[in-house]
């Protein structure tokens, strides 16, 4: 399996992502510069966390308009797997690859800590090592992780099994108290309809991210 990591000016988890992929696949991903217009042949595109363009204007907005993203959107629609983490989640919603948007955390603060996430859906590409109903513990590190979607979109997310993770406690309880940042329905990560795009607001050190990558069928976590 081949992987590519997109690098924007201001990305700062690109190395973390590279390390995680390298440790999992046994070989390095290609690093693709934002100004490029073509992707190398790849089975997985990773959009790493960080502060693309300083998160100025809106998180992910300027990155979402960079040349390489047109290509990423095209490949994603043709079924290439896309993993968008943290700032990558924001980039993915900004391009319209995924529905909704991310707002400033409800408490207005950057949040860096380990959180429990409930695995909400099974997915044939990702989440290979977890099953629906599990809880997993991942670090988050974000300032704008507060996921928003309108009523109609939320119904669709629930109805079509597009919710990947929800903020929970260690026993998998999802409620207002476990909602660290104000996200609608505690949503921490989502898939697209086809299930080939996963985005989540967790950050994830390489060590944690590596856990759960099992070869071709199940990617990353």
């Amino acid at each position: 399996m081949k992987a590519a990591v997109i690098v924007f000016p201001g990305s700062n988890c690109d190395r973390d992502m590279k390390v995680a992929i390298e440790q999992s696949l046994g070989h390095a991903p290609s690093m693709v510069w934002h100004a490029d217009t073509e992707l190398p042949p790849t089975d997985l595109i990773a959009i790493p966390g960080g502060f693309s363009y300083g998160d100025y204007l809106r998180c992910g907005a300027i990155a979402g308009n960079s040349p390489i993203m047109r290509e990423v959107v095209k490949k994603a629609s043709q079924g290439t797997l896309v993993l968008a983490v943290c700032n990558g989640f924001q980039v993915a919603t900004e391009t319209g690859m995924l529905p909704g948007a991310l707002l400033r955390n409800a408490n207005q603060k950057f949040i860096c800590k380990d959180v429990d996430l409930k695995v909400v859906s099974d997915n044939k590409y990702f989440a290979g090592s977890f099953t629906k109903g599990d809880t997993v513990r991942f670090p988050v590190a974000h300032h704008d992780g507060n996921y928003f979607a309108d009523e109609e979109t939320r119904k669709r997310l629930h109805g079509e099994g597009m919710i990947a993770f929800q903020y929970a406690d260690a026993d998998g309880n999802v409620n207002a108290e476990t909602n660290i940042n104000g996200s609608v329905d505690n949503i921490a990560g989502i898939y697209n309809e086809k299930g080939n795009i996963l985005a989540d607001a967790a950050s994830g050190t390489p060590d944690k991210r590596r856990a759960g990558w099992h070869g071709r069928q199940s990617v990353f976590r």
Binding site: L57, I62, T93, E94, L103, N105, A106, F148, D150
Partner: protein
């Protein structure tokens, strides 16, 4: 030709910044205040551009970059 774009969150989108400001104002004793919303304002110098093209040009900037229409409304004012 200059333009001013005002971007605000759509009704129904919770505004965490506005809420935090409201809370802080209450803390300072401004009790009567409510419904605080925060938006953005972007001012641009469009350079030499015909007035009749300016509005559509700024409109394109808004939809392509300046506003996220999933959550935001925008309005454009041309100033000269």
């Amino acid at each position: 030709m200059k333009a001013r774009v005002t971007i605000s969150l759509k009704n129904g989108v919770l505004d965490p910044q506005g809420k935090a400001i409201e809370h802080a104002l209450h803390g300072l004793g401004f009790d009567g205040v409510n419904d605080v919303r925060q938006g953005k304002i972007i001012e641009l110098d469009l350079g030499d551009i015909a007035k009749e093209n300016a509005a559509s040009e700024v409109e394109r900037m808004c939809t392509q970059l300046l506003a996220n229409t999933v959550i935001e409304n925008y309005s454009i004012e041309l100033l000269d």
